[in-house]
């Protein structure tokens, strides 16, 4: 479904992403791992259009999406969450999610119907499934960090993505929150059939859910394959898993 081929990106001469390779099939849960500064977030930003690659191809459903603006990529079916909480802080939780549902329904430029009555059912469904119902009326800026991370995901789901990209979905979460996020990701994948691409530092989580793992270092793809292959790869062990595994 998604194919990242020879993608490069540099900032002021620094190669943040250098020959990244990635292949995601429909229905898979793919993890990207690597040390800090390996270029994971940059890679995601390149896929979802926040950055334009210097060279290389990003094919999504047989179409090269490299260099497209983020909103167009989003409309093609790729949604994402961000590593650092990135929500609409002055809006309520409900409105946060509704905005993306409205966008999915192509009603962003609808000037005269009442937003009150638009996209209520879909929004409620998403909020409920992520367990945010109780906080739906809170102003999102006042939520706890963990709730905001969940809200991140809820916003991303509002676009009914085929491919959901999560940038460190559990960063800064408590162990319980991490656990419920893990469950959530599983159910998204199984029940809704959403393809998930994520990056994460929590190795336990990665190996418990991913069908496939891609390892990055210095902006380069070291290896890409099923978890056991990756786990047994010496280069990876040395470079990254090292002492931990």
């Amino acid at each position: 479904m998604l194919l990242v081929k020879d993608v490069q990106k540099s900032f002021d001469g620094f190669r943040a992403v250098n020959d990244a390779q990635l292949k995601v099939e429909k229905g898979e849960v793919v993890a990207v791992i690597g040390p800090n500064g390996a270029g994971k977030t940059t890679l995601f930003n390149l896929v979802t259009g926040q950055l334009n690659p210097d060279s290389g191809e990003i094919i999504f459903n047989n179409e090269n999406i490299a260099g497209m603006p983020p909103y167009e990529i989003c409309r093609k079916g790729i949604s994402r969450s961000f590593q650092i909480v990135n929500i609409f802080p002055r809006l309520t939780v409900f409105e946060n999610v509704r905005v993306s549902v409205i966008s999915y329904n192509k009603r962003t430029f609808n000037l005269f119907s009442k937003a009150e009555n638009v996209a209520v059912a879909e929004t409620e469904e998403i909020i409920q499934s992520l367990g945010l119902s109780e906080k739906a009326k809170r102003i999102s800026g006042s939520l706890s960090h963990g709730d905001q991370k969940v809200l991140e995901m809820a916003i991303a789901l509002g676009n009914r993505p085929e491919l959901l990209i999560l940038d460190e979905p559990t960063a800064g979460m408590s162990p319980e929150e991490t656990l419920s996020t893990l469950e959530l990701m599983k159910s998204l994948s199984r029940e809704r059939g959403i393809t998930i691409l994520f990056c994460e530092h929590d190795m336990e989580l990665v190996f418990s859910i991913a069908n496939k793992i891609m390892v990055m270092q210095h902006g380069r793809t070291i290896i890409e394959g099923p978890p056991d292959v990756v786990r047994s790869n010496r280069e990876v062990q040395e470079a990254y898993l090292g002492g931990e595994a």
């Binding site: 979802t48 990135n86 409105e95 999915y104 962003t108 000037l111």
Partner: protein, 318 residues
Amino acid sequence: MIKKFSWKALFLGLAVFVLLLFVPRYLPRFQVYLFALIFATGLLAVSLNMVLGLGGMYQFHHAVFYGIGAYTVALFITKTSLSPWLGFIAAPFVSALFSLVIGLICVRLSKLYFGMLQISLGSLVWAVVFRWYSFTGGDDGIHGISVPDLISSTGGAYYFSLAVTALCLVIMFRIVNSPFGRSFQAVRDNPERSEAVGINVKRIQLTGMVIAGIFAGVSGSLFVVIEGSVFPELMFWTLSLEIIIMCLLGGWFTFLGPMLGAAIIVLLRTFVGIYTEYWTMILGIVLMLLILFLPQGVLGFFQEKFETDGMKTIREEK
């Protein structure tokens, strides 16, 4: 700015409207004129807030669109033999057109850069109006514009402004609470995230500017009805700053706050001006105190006091 529709608010709004209908009957002529002026200025401020408060865009030169609306009506009446009413219909369209052109150039930038580029472009428009004697009357402006008899008296102008302002407010309220309005607020809060959920940020900002321009144009045409004059100061940058002050004074995260801000400024200017030459100093001090102690604006303050909802936390975080 999100407000649940409530019967209470609707009832209150209608009651105020009905009360206002009787103003010319019971108040002296000058107060009637002042009310009309407040409507027009308030409409202008609310229209600016459509981009400033709703969309978080630094629209630093909103007065240009106001002036263009006013000049459109004035030129329609003085230079053509068509029905003056057509001028009132044309004004918002011409303003929208200018909004579109200036917007197309400006939306590529953000925040201060956006604002300053807009000031440059707006000043160009101003310079053209200021110099083009044969068409716009140059710096003298055009005076003694004869609007249709129906709306030329103080009372007539009052009712016309009241009706038009009320209608525009209803439309703008619907826009604020439409899916577009919600999306625009999302863009204000977080443009990057908005792009990521599939919103074309530049396009929505441009649309917002055009909408704001339309209502600024309407408000400019009301000014012609009330004052019977147009002059280049209507599109000078200091006026633009004044409109921004109105928005902040009243509360830029509320819908009617800018209206209240406009009323306060107009009243201050008129009544303090009677007693002292130094009213700008008083305005300056009032503004300073306001920014120091009431940063959410007057209406924002009341809204916060009476409808909690976590608004406070937001302010502290900002």
